[in-house]
Amino acid sequence: MSVPLEHDYIGLSSEAVPSMEGSERSSSGGLNLNLKATELRLGLPGSESPGRDNGVGVLKSLLVVSGAKRGFSDAIDGGSGKWVFSGNGGSEAELGKGGNLFSPRSVNGGGKGGGCECNNQNTGLGSPVLKDGVVPPPSPKPLQEKKPQLSAPAAKAQVVGWPPIRSFRKNSMATHSPKNDDDAEGKSGSGCLYVKVSMDGAPYLRKVDLKTYGSYMELSSALEKMFSCFTIGQCSSHGVPSRDGLNESRLMDLLSGSEYVLTYEDKDGDWMLVGDVPWEMFTESCKRLRIMKSSEAIGLAPRAMEKCKNRN
């Protein structure tokens, strides 16, 4: 569902300038002030800043390597909650797809380190372009060819303190039962939903297709017709079930004047009172229906039963 979104924003060409760039070009007048305010003066005030120092960039890229390495050596020492540094070749799929994000090509003296290539293309990061008030597009070449190799251990490395989750939360999630995740994601994809309907005291069961009804009202009238030979009582005509379906008046509607209550068994095997949840949710979870004697349903809906008794 999101794929169309991505196409819209990536634009017509794979190297399209993102929307932000375009809008900046069109409103460069007001932008000048901002840029001036943030213009870096790397030399004395008033002097031109020197051009990009590629050498520094290379050095810094190498230092990225060593910096990352330092992080790993810290991690070996212990501490809880390590994160797999999957960027280092753990995710083979990414490597394959990206081609050579972390290519084995090493950074040599004359070559440009990772950031540099980008920087070369974007001379705008130096002051001359800032003055013009235009930020040039990012390097169209994929970054992967230029990134220096991150010399990670062969196995997935783990980094202290990443991902940044408080230990407290990590511990409470560790004891979180995984079985919740493995819940059957029961999606009822079928076109019809036949469920058995039993009624206490009736000699035989019936089956109804829940999909043919749109609301509790329809269901209860249908059941009434089906089991009319047995007294089931009537549903109140006022109060069309609302979407939330959780107010007590709905329960009253279903139960008024009746010595029976309508219950259902849900996916988990529990017997529930019909009418609590929105209709769609009910149809998804209902496995069977049972028209229960009210005397058996005491506790299921105590107030409902009181009102029934009062009415009778």
Partner: protein
């Protein structure tokens, strides 16, 4: 107009200032002139101290003799992620002792990331007769004995809120220490404890009719929850404990009773807990979902059923097991959503990509009021971030946690444009965390557009020092900058040392700053404490100026180097003044 106001009697000024409540506004008021400073300081009741080492308790007491509510924060934020050694500092004892000695009528104390001892809690409980509220967030160092002292001695206690603390639990029943005369509780949160005395809890709830907030822990079973809710149908904030039933026929009765009881609890707006939850018990809480504005902790497929009912939800904290599909349900149901936090279900172990950029885009398109986001995922695209920026221009907090150095997997580009779009469109952004792969460019955008940015967290940034300079130069309201595993070095650190006095603190770990660079900062800025933390490399640290420091934490302060620093923390200023050099007088 100002001169006219100088002729008003002080009482009029006091009355006017009483309407100014935010501490920043009050700080501004106090800077206008000496008269206003003096009038304001006697009336100030709430004081916020973001760094307990920036000022001393004596100076606090001298300036604000009327303080009733104090907030103190201790360790740097990265302590949450194990980057700060355990005994770095942040002790509350000197504060409590000083306040106790004075005639301050302290009523409320809120501590975050501080070390609290049982003795501190005991002194606190005995020294302030009107003490009403204690909130401890991410603190450590105390046991349930300290809680017992608070319970026993604070006769008018209204609030005891323990959030995510590390508390050693003794065999006492600290809850029993609340006397029978304690009927004033409004909020009680002990979710971070492992045990509790159920009988004492039920009695406590029964005799405190004003209780509005109650957050239970795992040791409170469903049956007890039902009995407690019977006593406290007026609750607004509820944190459940363990929400499971055994498969016993009698327990169905409990479940029915619980459902009936919950129907009576019409005021619940905030729901959390569900530290264990059996799916089949969850329908019991459906009735409160309609009005729920905050929900945390419920997981699995049942969550989606619940979410469908929560049309008024404003704050939602969930685990990523909900998946992108689940987030789409959230997006279509929770139109008023303002805050969303999606935590990873399995923090360790990549490959379990439960939520992706798809889910985030869905949320942004369904919930345009979103202003606070914490989102853990393993990949993100620029396109998605640009879409999110367009849909949600109201971010105040944007924290994205991706795998480090991961680019946009579709285009293999760094995420500069995506983050740039966020800072450009959310003009009120105050807090930002960067992750994934980015270049200097993102810092250029941040410096240009993030005018309200106060806190920035950077991890695994490569490239040159210019990035850090863009931020320091451009973000005029920056208060906290924390950087880890990035290649910023002395050039960036030293460019504008005066900036650091306008900020609360700067943290740099596993970066390229050297000892010499840090010494230079310390020498030039006497009102900064520049701390070097060298826990691991203590032996190997060469003490040479070109040696890289493992962790540096600098912060502005009016009281000089702290006296309680452990031996692995060197405050550079102190060292500089020592004849003998580094190895002496640590």
């Amino acid at each position: 107009m100002l001169t006219m106001m100088n002729y008003f009697p002080d009482e009029v000024l006091e009355h006017v200032f009483d309407f100014v409540t935010s501490h920043r506004d009050r700080n501004a008021v106090s800077l206008v002139c000496k008269l206003w400073y003096n009038v304001e300081r006697f009336r100030r009741q709430q004081v916020f101290i973001g760094n307990c080492y920036a000022i001393s308790p004596e100076r606090l007491i001298a300036r604000f003799p009327g303080v009733k509510a104090l907030t103190l924060k201790g360790k740097p934020h990265f302590a949450d992620f194990n980057l700060v050694p355990h005994d770095w500092g942040g002790y509350v004892q000197p504060w409590i002792e000083a306040l106790a000695r004075s005639r301050i009528g302290l009523e409320e104390l809120r501590l975050k990331r501080m070390v609290v001892s049982d003795e501190s809690l005991d002194v606190l409980s005995r020294s302030f007769t009107n003490f009403k509220s204690l909130v401890l967030v991410s603190c450590e160092g105390f046991t349930t004995d300290g809680l017992a002292a608070i319970a026993a001695n604070c006769r008018f206690l209204r609030e005891l809120d323990l959030q995510e603390n590390e508390i050693e639990e003794k065999k006492n029943h600290w809850l029993c220490c609340f006397p029978d005369s304690c009927t004033s509780l409004v909020s009680l949160n002990f979710a971070c404890l492992k045990e509790i005395n159920l009988a004492a809890l039920e009695r406590l709830v029964a005799r405190n009719p004003n209780l509005k907030g109650l957050k239970l822990n795992r040791a409170v079973p469903l049956e007890a929850l039902q009995r407690i809710l019977m006593r406290a149908p007026q609750l607004v904030d509820l944190g459940t404990g363990s929400f499971v039933l055994d498969r016993d026929p009698d327990d169905f009765e409990t479940y029915r009773k619980l459902r009936a009881t919950i129907l009576k609890c019409r005021s619940i707006r905030n729901l959390s807990g569900f530290l264990e939850a059996a799916p089949r018990c969850l329908p019991a809480i459906y009735p409160i979902c309609l009005n729920l504005s905050y929900a945390a902790g419920i997981n699995g497929s049942e969550l989606i059923k619940l979410i469908r009912l929560c049309g008024k939800l404003q704050r939602l904290w969930i685990l990523d097991c909900i998946g992108d599909e689940g987030l789409e349900v959230v997006a279509s149901t929770c139109k008023d959503l303002q805050e969303l936090r999606v935590f990873p279900c399995h923090p360790v172990g990549a490959g379990h990509a439960a939520v992706t950029e798809t889910g985030l885009v869905a949320i942004s398109s369904g919930c345009p009021k979103l202003n606070s986001l914490l989102y853990y995922c393993q990949q993100m695209t620029n396109a998605a971030l640009i879409a999110v920026a367009k849909n949600c221009p109201n971010f105040i907090r944007f924290t994205l946690c991706l795998d480090p150095i991961n680019p946009d997997p579709v285009t293999m580009q760094p995420l500069d444009e995506g983050f740039g779009a966020i800072v450009r469109s959310s003009k009120r952004l105050q807090r930002l965390s960067l992750s994934g792969l980015f270049t200097e460019r993102v810092f250029l955008y941040i410096g240009m557009y993030a005018e309200q940015l106060e806190m920035l967290s950077i991890a695994f940034a490569g490239e040159s020092d210019k990035g850090m300079l863009y931020v320091l130069n451009g973000c005029k309201k920056l208060r906290k900058l924390e950087i880890r595993d990035s290649s910023f070095g002395d050039m960036a650190l030293l460019r504008d040392v005066g900036k650091y006095e306008t900020m609360r603190s700067l943290w740099m770990s596993s970066c390229d700053v050297t000892l010499g660079g840090c010494k230079t900062v310390a020498k030039k800025m006497p009102r900064l404490n520049v701390e070097i933390i060298n826990e691991n490399d203590r032996m190997k640290f060469a003490h040479e100026d070109n040696q890289k420091v493992e962790k540096m934490y600098l912060y502005r302060t009016l009281v000089g180097p702290r006296e309680d620093a452990p031996e692995f923390v060197w405050t550079l200023e102190k060292l500089l003044f020592t004849p003998g050099g580094l190895l002496e007088d640590q």
